[in-house]
Symmetry: C2
Subunit: 205 residues, 2 copies
């Protein structure tokens, strides 16, 4: 696909408010590990990306026919993947604090568990995820120092990091989530996760 | 998925101007036949559907980042499917006459060959497909009475049939192409063709 040597890493851009990111968050770590590929977790904010495209909110709300279909498709895709699913009563669900914490832990061994637990709360348990109480509950459950992490996530310098990460997403041409990068090859949507991992040159089981 | 008995037919809604419809047109007949499923070809016009959503043209033109990505994705998907690909110099390419002829032949044994040949002209040979000469060339190549079919396709009553078909698409909630229906279950995009055929209850080879 490219003239470069095979990449052994995939950059995974996601937002906790994104339905199709739920599908990828729940399976990427295992799917990548099976191929010997490392995941670089890249939390970002979809909202500013949508606003830059001229949309005030999710295109699934602005375009009713597409939104109606998306809910049916998500239910089917979750059934197919064996994932629990409950249509959130609020969409898109704010996820600023959980995303800031995800950025804080992006290189930590707990990032996968943290993201899966947060996504499950949103899309399987219909819980509000953008509160310190819920984020603390997730972190506590992983045996992590919840209050320290939440305090760090709320520092102005760290808030700026998430804005910078979102600007980086836009500069890369990212227009939705999930998006995967293997080197400079971009793949959009959970439907392209396997292609992205294949591009890594990983061993297919 | 539904409480109905398995459907043995898939309704295939497509427009010759649609890039992702190219992928499905080229493989649906063989993929369906392998599962003992019958394809009902449903040509329609995407333009009025887009205009009803408030878009003056293809969303791939209105949203540059998404459009740029789509061309890369199409090149990759064609490579993966072993399909020839040349990015059309005109997009979306008008396809009114070829679609009228497709509607005329939707129940005929030549519909699959006709659609594949027309799609190849657009997406592999970068040819203008919306002229009587090119449509006649395709029909001649299939041993069909080209002039008779083109004359019939240009009758006012038949033009109205394509408009009615497009209104039916909109009434079904169709917002893009390709779209598949199995009973009342809708599947959008070439990425869902296999799911749609699976829903038919066909035997998987």
């Amino acid at each position: 696909m490219t003239s470069q040597a095979p990449q052994r890493t995939v950059d995974f851009w996601f937002d906790f408010s994104s339905t199709y990111s739920y599908l990828s968050v729940m399976r990427i770590e295992e799917a990548a590990a099976r191929r010997g590929v490392q995941v670089r977790w890249k939390p970002f904010l979809l909202g500013p990306i949508f606003r830059a495209a001229g949309w005030e909110t999710s295109p699934f709300l602005l375009h009713k026919a597409k939104g109606d279909y998306m809910w049916k498709d998500m239910a089917r895709q979750c059934r197919k993947a064996g994932l629990p699913w409950r249509q959130p009563t609020r969409f898109p669900r704010p996820a600023l604090l959980p995303l800031r914490v995800a950025l804080l832990g992006a290189d930590q061994p707990w990032i996968g568990d943290y993201c899966r637990r947060t996504m499950s709360l949103n899309f399987a348990e219909d819980r509000d995820i953008d509160t310190p109480e819920v984020v603390a509950q997730v972190l506590d459950g992983l045996g992590l120092p919840a209050q320290d992490l939440i305090d760090a996530a709320r520092q102005e310098a760290h808030k700026a990091r998430l804005r910078t990460q979102t600007e980086a997403a836009q500069a890369l041409g990212i227009f939705g989530a999930p998006t995967f990068f293997v080197g400079d090859e971009m793949y959009w949507g959970d439907d392209r996760l396997d292609d992205a991992l294949g591009e890594c040159g990983g061993v297919v089981p």
